[in-house]
């Protein structure tokens, strides 16, 4: 039995926000742009197989001519790095890091966060430049392969971490009801296709359906967008009464208004999508989705996209989508041993998990 306690005075100027893939439209892999103060880095996040969020594969790729860059697996307890990747001659460019504080492991042996740094000669050593808040770093990217493409060190945002705006969610590239037009020529014949954006996803729509018109003055040229809306999007196919809430890209049907209010939603949040729009969604939520069924008499409690965990007085009956199967997470210990964050648990209507392919308990 061990307790590890670390107090550290952290420089917020070097700390940049972590983007949460679970609250962005679409499915893995995700690509994020990071204009740091003096550098530009693109970060690609894709899920690794397996239920655990305790490990992460970190890869460094650098633009030609860019050298002496590194990513350090930082441990606050030891106040040092436990592993690193770099682009100097002989450096490894890929590493698997393990979260600090996992049961059974000694203090100071795991990774709290990663530090992006450069190799300096005076004094000789890695000079820390940027890092991520540890809780968000593991909650959002744990269990993933994270590739850092260091594009340039000749320009950046000029903004420190404290000046960088926090991400806003849901992460969508176009607002709801944006109409897009795609003109194509196939075998000499010209075609025009229309798409409607809802929850950050593009749905094909017929000319005239829901009032869509290729002559609309607000129509914009087609842009490739995800096929699945962001978590918490409420959709209703046109001319159909049923409302569905989207989690992990999958539609969970809401049977009645009381259930909708009980989930913390409001009718004004429901978005109409074209006929047959649900058919483009997957048959299972994406891997890594954490779900909990609504129980008891629904009552309005405000938006409830996250579940506070047992400490919040809730029922810890949680399910994880892993390898496209629904696995019951049997205990709080199983949640913690697999580094599954309570903040990602989404509440869905009662009985709606029954239709999902079951898998072994976790």
């Amino acid at each position: 039995m061990t307790v590890c306690v670390t107090a550290d005075y952290l420089d917020l100027r070097s700390r940049y926000p972590v983007l949460d893939p679970r609250r962005i439209a679409g499915a893995y892999p995700f690509g994020f742009g990071y204009p740091f103060a003096r550098d530009e880095v693109s970060i690609y996040v894709e899920r690794r197989p397996g239920p655990s969020g305790c490990q992460m594969e970190v890869v460094l790729e650098s633009a030609p001519g860019l050298n002496k860059k590194g990513i350090l697996a930082w441990n606050f307890h030891g106040h040092t790095f436990v592993d690193y990747v770099g682009n100097r001659a002989g450096d490894e460019t890929s590493m698997v890091i393990r979260k600090e504080g996992i049961r059974g492991r000694a203090c100071g042996t795991g990774t709290d966060t990663v530090v992006l740094g450069r190799w300096d000669l005076d004094p000789v050593g890695w000079q820390a430049q940027y890092y991520f808040p540890p809780q968000d770093f593991w909650d959002f990217w744990g269990g993933c392969k994270v590739t850092f493409e260091w594009t340039t060190d000749r320009r950046g945002s000029g903004l420190s971490g404290t000046q960088t705006p926090q991400p806003t969610y849901p992460g969508v590239r176009k607002p709801d009801y944006t109409l897009m037009r795609k003109d194509e020529t196939l075998r000499g014949i010209e075609f025009t296709s229309l798409f409607l954006v809802v929850g950050g996803a593009a749905f094909p729509i017929y000319e005239g359906e829901m009032g869509a018109s290729s002559a609309s003055p607000s129509i914009i040229p087609f842009e490739s967008l995800p096929s699945t809306p962001a978590d918490g999007t409420l959709v209703r196919q046109t001319n159909i009464e049923e409302v569905d809430v989207i989690y992990g890209g999958y539609p969970f049907p809401i049977s009645d208004p009381q259930t909708l209010y009980g989930l913390g939603f409001d009718w004004r949040q429901v978005r109409e999508i074209p006929s047959g729009g649900l058919k483009q969604l997957p048959g299972m939520p994406i891997d890594g989705t954490l779900l909990k069924q609504q129980k008891g008499t629904p009552r309005f409690e405000g938006p409830r996209h996250t579940f506070p965990g047992p400490a919040g007085g809730g029922d810890p009956e949680v399910y994880l989508v892993d390898n496209q199967q629904l696995r019951h997470v049997t205990s709080t210990e199983a949640m913690e041993e697999n580094c599954l964050p309570w903040r990602h648990v989404r509440t869905v209507p009662e009985h709606t998990l029954a239709s999902l392919e079951p898998g072994p308990d976790l």
Partner: protein, 123 residues
């Protein structure tokens, strides 16, 4: 032809730091004291509560001692407790003198032992 992925910009799903929002960012402090707690003896939700409790304790202690340094991240590593293998305490960047640091170690130890004793009684 070069097949480098840097030759062609890939579509991104999100960007940190929306340039349109820059003027809206309020100025905030440049440094923050954080306390992390982990280990076999503390559960996830319990660890969060204990970390908050200890963070308040350390905050009050360094404020009282008045010796925290604004540029504290380069302070040499503090020796760990060494008295009890089950309790591993590391203090960094607080800028405390040795006596104050020893006192803070004892205070943290006492708070954790109290937490563990409370947990045992509750089981």
């Amino acid at each position: 032809m070069d097949d480098s992925p840097f030759d062609e910009a890939l579509p991104l799903d999100g960007v940190v730091g929306n340039l349109e929002d820059l003027v809206e960012v309020p100025p905030i402090g440049e440094g923050v004291l954080e306390v992390f707690v982990s280990g076999d003896a503390v559960s996830g939700s319990g660890a969060v509560g204990l970390a908050r409790d200890l963070e308040q304790l350390v905050h009050e202690f360094v404020r009282r001692s008045g010796s925290i340094r604004a540029e504290g991240t380069r302070v040499p590593e503090t020796p760990r407790s060494g008295e009890d293998e089950e309790l591993d305490i590391a203090l960094h960047g607080l800028g405390l003198d040795p006596d104050a640091e020893t006192e803070l170690h004892h205070l943290i130890r006492g708070r954790i032992l109290g937490y563990l004793a409370g947990g045992e009684e509750g089981r």
